[in-house]
């Protein structure tokens, strides 16, 4: 059976980067004035070239895309003849609305996957429309790529597309991150977790016979992680548990029958939710009443951050009070396969140094199962 792939290029993505604008949202004219040249079309071309020359021979793919620079140009240049144009941009520049409108059309066509070329901003625009309905895969071309939807390189993305079409990759949760570009240009770092999308991930396998392995679903692994966390809560019944944001922890907490927030920090004591979506001040207040605290975190986004991205409520002040040794990191193995490090960027050099000194952390990857992962501090 053939796969239906939707293809969307954000032709202006990445243009701000080379001229030092840290993003392209709202500053396209300025970027062009500074001499910025399009980046995304080239990245899209590279990926398609890689895909068609190395992988496509046996893949049956139906392509759905937008006219001109938003997809059709690059597909045509790659020699694809059978293209269905689902959205016309005519001869004007593109806007986030165009990406969103194109995605609405792609959903109507029941595509199996949206392959897009852009950065975090494009990922967010797409996610706003497709939510968790279908998986998305990003060709990395933006200034910022903190979201977990991107292939590491254009050639890795081509390979992932091929493996998706051949069903050797599976679908799993990936975070969509959002950085406030205006604040960022002023020197303030405010990256938030925007939502959990469906991405394509490496499946986890278990040996079921001497030479037989079966893939295990991401949810089955998360069930194990949930069981592990519940055990921890039982063992430390006198501790307050602070649960971080993200898809993995969201799943675990829902499994416990609690109504949590996906994007914020929740507090659980005696298996009951005692505070929801607490801010820094709220956490500090809780710490006054609960001397024993454990924090459950999971890597967020593409680079494996457990602190400093999407959970600024866990400020240096909070972490110092709780103590680094009371942090429990949980992750599905598929997530770790794309993030070789656990990264922290607390914004406090002293605290970062404590992590550097630790060198590595035990990360829980299954029920009572863990492995060591190196820690890196922010070096981007």
């Amino acid at each position: 059976m053939s796969s239906k792939i939707g293809f969307v290029v954000n032709p202006i993505a990445g243009m701000g980067g080379k001229v030092g604008l840290k993003g392209t949202d709202g500053v396209l004219k300025e970027a062009i004035a500074l001499g910025a040249k399009p980046v995304a079309p080239e990245k899209a071309k590279e990926t398609l070239k890689e895909y068609f020359s190395n992988y496509s021979t046996k893949d049956e793919v139906q392509w759905f895309t937008c006219s001109g620079a938003m997809g059709a140009d690059e597909l045509k240049k790659s020699g694809v003849k059978n293209i269905e144009i689902i959205y016309n941009i005519f001869d004007r520049g593109t806007l986030p609305e165009d990406t969103r409108n194109a995605c609405k059309k792609l959903l109507e066509k029941n595509v199996d996957l949206i392959l897009f070329c852009g950065g975090d901003g494009t990922a967010k625009d797409i996610f706003e429309i497709v939510d968790k309905k279908i998986p998305i895969l990003g060709i990395p071309a933006g200034v910022k790529m903190h979201s977990g939807v991107f292939g590491i390189t254009t050639s890795a993305t081509a390979k992932m597309l091929h493996e998706f079409v051949n069903k050797t990759l599976t679908i799993g949760d990936v975070e969509i991150m959002d950085l406030d570009e205006e604040l960022y240009r002023k020197g303030e770092w405010n990256i938030r977790l925007f939502g959990i999308a469906q991405g394509i991930v490496e499946p986890t396998y278990v040996q079921v016979g001497k030479t037989v392995y079966e893939s295990v679903s991401d949810d089955a692994i998360k069930d194990e992680l949930a069981e592990h966390v519940m055990d921890e809560m039982e063992k430390s019944s006198d501790s307050l548990f602070l649960l971080g944001p993200g898809g993995t922890i969201d799943y675990i907490v829902r499994k416990m029958g609690l109504d949590n927030t996906l994007l914020g920090i929740d507090a659980v004591y005696n298996k009951k939710l005692i505070a929801k979506d607490v801010n820094e001040e709220g956490i500090l207040n809780l710490l006054k009443n609960y001397p024993k605290v454990k924090v459950i975190l999971s890597p967020i986004g593409a680079q494996g951050f457990i602190l400093g991205r999407g959970n600024l409520q866990l400020s240096p002040k909070v972490i110092k009070k709780i103590d680094v040794d009371n942090i429990i990191v949980v992750s599905t193995p598929s997530k770790l396969s794309s993030t070789p490090f656990i990264r922290v960027d607390t914004g406090d050099k002293k605290l970062d140094r404590i992590f550097i000194k630790k060198e590595f952390m035990m990360v829980v990857i299954g029920y009572r199962l863990s492995r060591v992962i190196k820690i890196q501090t922010n070096n981007f």
């Binding site: 040996q207 590595f360 035990m362 009572r368 199962l369 863990s370 060591v372």
Partner: protein, 394 residues
């Protein structure tokens, strides 16, 4: 509710068949010999674990027959009640001497040893630290234990050290478990370094030497002898079913270990003991290893020759240090195709494909045997060369 109690049997089997995950059993119509008859076809056997060809050795056959004649076909009981024969004790004593350890214990199978002993060595509040590529029967033993588990990157001593350092703070007992010879790649665990690290932290060491027993170390004494650390590994676990040519699991170590193991391992306590013929053949296998060094030598001569020739043809044989010879061909489809073409040419060698090995490292796994002649090896090599060129692997 009136349920259909057995519908799942057919449904689940059919599901496996549709996914091509069911076992299609190949039937041997001869003994497990280098030239065997498989599914009616005479083939060169390159996938048996009978490394030294001892399953066909006259002394082992005689050992089995004599014991059966003298003591009968079965043992009559579990070891713990009335099934421990003098013959079993003799095998254990001879085995300890061969392994140069204080004591040894025979289990019904290697799997019974792992599944029975590992969960007894560690419990709640303890941790098992395991190489990520450990074999399935270790993994099941580990799963049955109530202990926490941590894995370290394959043979990465730096990572093992880090896990030990973390585990040291939190746990009562620490057990490090590794395969001795890894069955997919044929590489050897750095047991000397593992023992050294374990001693620093007061951790126990457990090695599954199923593919090393009878193969590595002087006269095939296994991984302890290979590194010159006999008696220093806390549990040397192995099997009589591979190079020893019979069946049965074994552990070798201290008398304390053996006393503990047979009183605590449920697999040992609750399965019938080996029939006299098995024990007689096991004893003869140890005899042969101690007195006929040519088998181990032939195995290694064959291994070196085969690997050298494969390499000169341009094949990649990976990291193997043992007679397990992976012929890496790339993607899974190609490995299966090569295996089928080899079978057409009367060579029986199994493909090992993703996810058992990395996606781009699918391979034919050749198990070299001491009983293969130079002519046999040349026949296999000529076909590998011909088909390797045909499939554009070399």
């Amino acid at each position: 509710m009136k349920r259909n109690a057995k519908a799942f049997l057919k449904a689940e089997y059919n599901d496996l068949v549709s996914k091509n995950l069911d076992w299609k059993l190949r039937i041997l119509e001869s003994g497990s010999t280098p030239h065997a008859v498989v599914d009616g076809k005479k083939v060169l056997m390159l996938c048996s674990n009978n490394y030294l060809n001892l399953s066909n050795h006259p002394r082992l056959i005689k050992g089995a027959i004599d014991a059966a004649k003298k003591y009968g076909a079965g043992s009559g009981s579990v070891r713990a009640i009335a099934g421990t024969m003098k013959l079993h004790i003799e095998v254990e004593k001879r085995l300890a001497k061969f392994k140069r350890t204080e004591s040894a214990l025979i289990y019904q199978t290697g799997f019974a040893a792992n599944a029975g002993l590992i969960p007894q060595l560690v419990g709640e509040g303890d941790i098992i630290i395991s190489d990520e590529l450990n074999h399935g029967s270790i993994i099941d033993g580990v799963r049955l234990a109530k202990a926490d588990r941590a894995v370290y990157k394959h043979k990465d001593m730096g990572e093992l050290d880090k896990v030990l350092k973390e585990a040291d703070k939190k746990y009562r007992r620490i057990l490090i478990i590794t395969d001795g010879v890894f069955s997919m790649d044929g590489d050897i665990a750095p047991m000397d370094k593992i023992v050294k690290l374990a001693n620093e932290y007061g951790a126990m060491t457990y090695v599954d030497d199923a593919h090393g027993e009878g193969v590595i170390g002087s006269d095939g004494r296994g991984i302890g002898a290979h590194f010159g650390i006999e008696g220093k590994i806390d549990v040397e676990m192995g099997t009589f079913s591979k190079a020893f040519g019979v069946v049965g699991g074994l552990i070798a170590g201290s008398q304390d270990l053996v006393n503990f193991a047979y009183n605590k391992s449920r697999t040992w306590l609750l399965s019938g003991s080996h029939p006299p013929a098995v024990a007689g053949a096991q004893l003869a296998a140890i005899d042969v290893l101690e007195t006929e060094p040519q088998h181990v030598k032939n195995l290694w001569d064959n291994t070196k020759y085969f690997k050298k020739e494969l390499k000169s043809m341009g094949f990649n044989t990976g990291e193997s240090e043992t007679p397990i010879t992976p012929v890496i061909v790339g993607d899974s489809g190609k490995a299966k195709e090569l295996s089928n073409l080899l079978f057409d040419e009367a060579i029986f060698a199994l493909p090992i494909v993703f996810p058992m090995v990395a996606k781009d490292k699918a391979r034919i796994r050749v198990m070299i045997n001491a009983g293969l002649t130079r002519k046999d090896l040349d026949f296999a090599l000529a076909n590998f060369e011909k088909l390797g060129k045909k499939l554009r692997i070399i």
